[in-house]
Symmetry: C2
Subunit: 362 residues, 2 copies
Amino acid sequence: MKLIVNQKNLKRAISLVEKVVSKNTSLPILGNILFKTENGRLRLSATNLELGINTLIGVKIEEVGEIAVPARIFSDFINTVQDEKVTLVTKNNTLTINAEHYKTSILGFDPKDFPIIPKIKSEPIVSIPASILKGALVKVLDSMAISETRPELAGVLVQIKDNQCVFVSTDIFRLSEVILPIKASASASIILPRNTVAELVRMCSDLEGDVQIKYADNQVAFVAEDIELVSRVVDGTYPPYKNVIPEKFISRALIKRGELENNIRLAGLFASSISDVKIACSKDKLTITARNSDKGEIETDVPAVLKNEPFELSLNYRYILDGLKNMPGNDVIIEFTGAGSPLVMRPGDDKSFVYLIMPLRN
Amino acid sequence: MKLIVNQKNLKRAISLVEKVVSKNTSLPILGNILFKTENGRLRLSATNLELGINTLIGVKIEEVGEIAVPARIFSDFINTVQDEKVTLVTKNNTLTINAEHYKTSILGFDPKDFPIIPKIKSEPIVSIPASILKGALVKVLDSMAISETRPELAGVLVQIKDNQCVFVSTDIFRLSEVILPIKASASASIILPRNTVAELVRMCSDLEGDVQIKYADNQVAFVAEDIELVSRVVDGTYPPYKNVIPEKFISRALIKRGELENNIRLAGLFASSISDVKIACSKDKLTITARNSDKGEIETDVPAVLKNEPFELSLNYRYILDGLKNMPGNDVIIEFTGAGSPLVMRPGDDKSFVYLIMPLRN
């Protein structure tokens, strides 16, 4: 392989794939990035066996070829050199990079040992603008279960039907659901592993156009113009979460999101792990109290517009903050659905997102 | 105590003292900040017994008094509230903070249990502009020993004579010396502990005027307009470091600092812990090579203007980078003083700073 590449393009491509590079010491090949010439471009690939990323960049190829190069040193190197053009040449699994003021050899690995990232040949099911896909995923990030005891909860359910795409996550303490209107050519119900969700958010942050979703044989691919993320899906059945979302509310309050967030944060300083914070909504205000026998106590309120009866309940303040963080707009709606039922939070003027906090059980 | 204080001023004062607050769980009182009214102002104090900071802020006092308040929760609280004015009231070692939309009580401690920060009543020895003091300390930060096996090396020697103030640090692998011209009213030789040096740098970053140095009874104080840092000094004798600084050089090279730094960084990627990087200076260039049997190798060069004979030696590249980082100006001078003698680095046009790297011994 011999090619000339723009340093900035190469740097960007490396940053896209290197996060997937595994530090798995029992399989050192996974610590590499595969460089391979492909139809006049250079393909960079990384995989941790669960999740793989391919990206293509324009280069000037003088000789086709491929090599697996340790990601860490190559990334450090390419971030430090200041040349505009970099010439990469391989010989016997060694990558040499020479310029006017330096000569470098980086020891690589046999590209044949690099795991194959599956190719999904079926047609895309749906195409979603990257910024919208990212917006939906960010809203469901926090509610994924951290523990792998129930693998299906340590991920995001993506349900694609003919005219909507639903994103759901729950760790049984809270639940997030985002519904996007779309046009799909087929249906699918996929559980994305948590790392895939995080990587996909990062990939989308860097993209402008659309992302196509392809799905076959327990593998899902998210394909954009010059980058592709391929992931296994979680094997399992997602719980029937729809049952948990209350259809009716007893009381509903409309509150300024920023003020509520600030006051919950203040109260959180005094929350003890046991009693947490208490919220009580009366006709025109929501009062938040917290008490901690070691630190002190606080009572704070924010103006609220209440529909129906006053209500009160105790909650984990971090769950409230997680929900508020992802609410778009200036207003938030809080729906009380009864003691022992979830508290429902929604944006003031956006019906596509709902966030539930399950009641504390003593 | 009852007083009204501007939230921004209080926030700044807390940020100045809170870094000193100790997490020493056997003495919980050290986790507090002492609030005390003093001559119409509010004094905030924190100490970890080695090092104490006092700062004064303007407040409107309605009732004098004092209280010790847990630093962590007070700091979080004051950083979260959005009021311009905050009213602090104490009663039975509880601090209450009330405003239109909240009522807060923070449990404090008896101020009588708070350790006394020593007061140094002697006259200042010298007065140095904060920015210049900071500049000198930053240059000697990296060379302090990290280990406390030789406590005198885990700090900075400050030698004040009638017309100069010398700052020195060495961990026996490298040595930094900064000489400031000053007018002192007395002589002193003080070893500042490493944490004191770091805190002093932070304190100076935030100041505009002069810092006075006072010294008595193994305590040193750095006093500015509304803040004062008081520290014990390290008990011990600093080694006769002057003997280590070579008086003559065999060869001297003048090099562009930025280019050298970048090339050393590149070579450092290939440095193995044993052989490290080799630098070889010929008539018009400095060549840097590094080789690592696992990663690969590099040879890179930067233009140099050499006086006298070519030379070469092996060095720890991190020590070179630490030295270059603190060199002012565009050029750096490297002096070869013989195999087995230190490599000397100086700024191209500033005689006040010298940085030595001791030779590697195999």
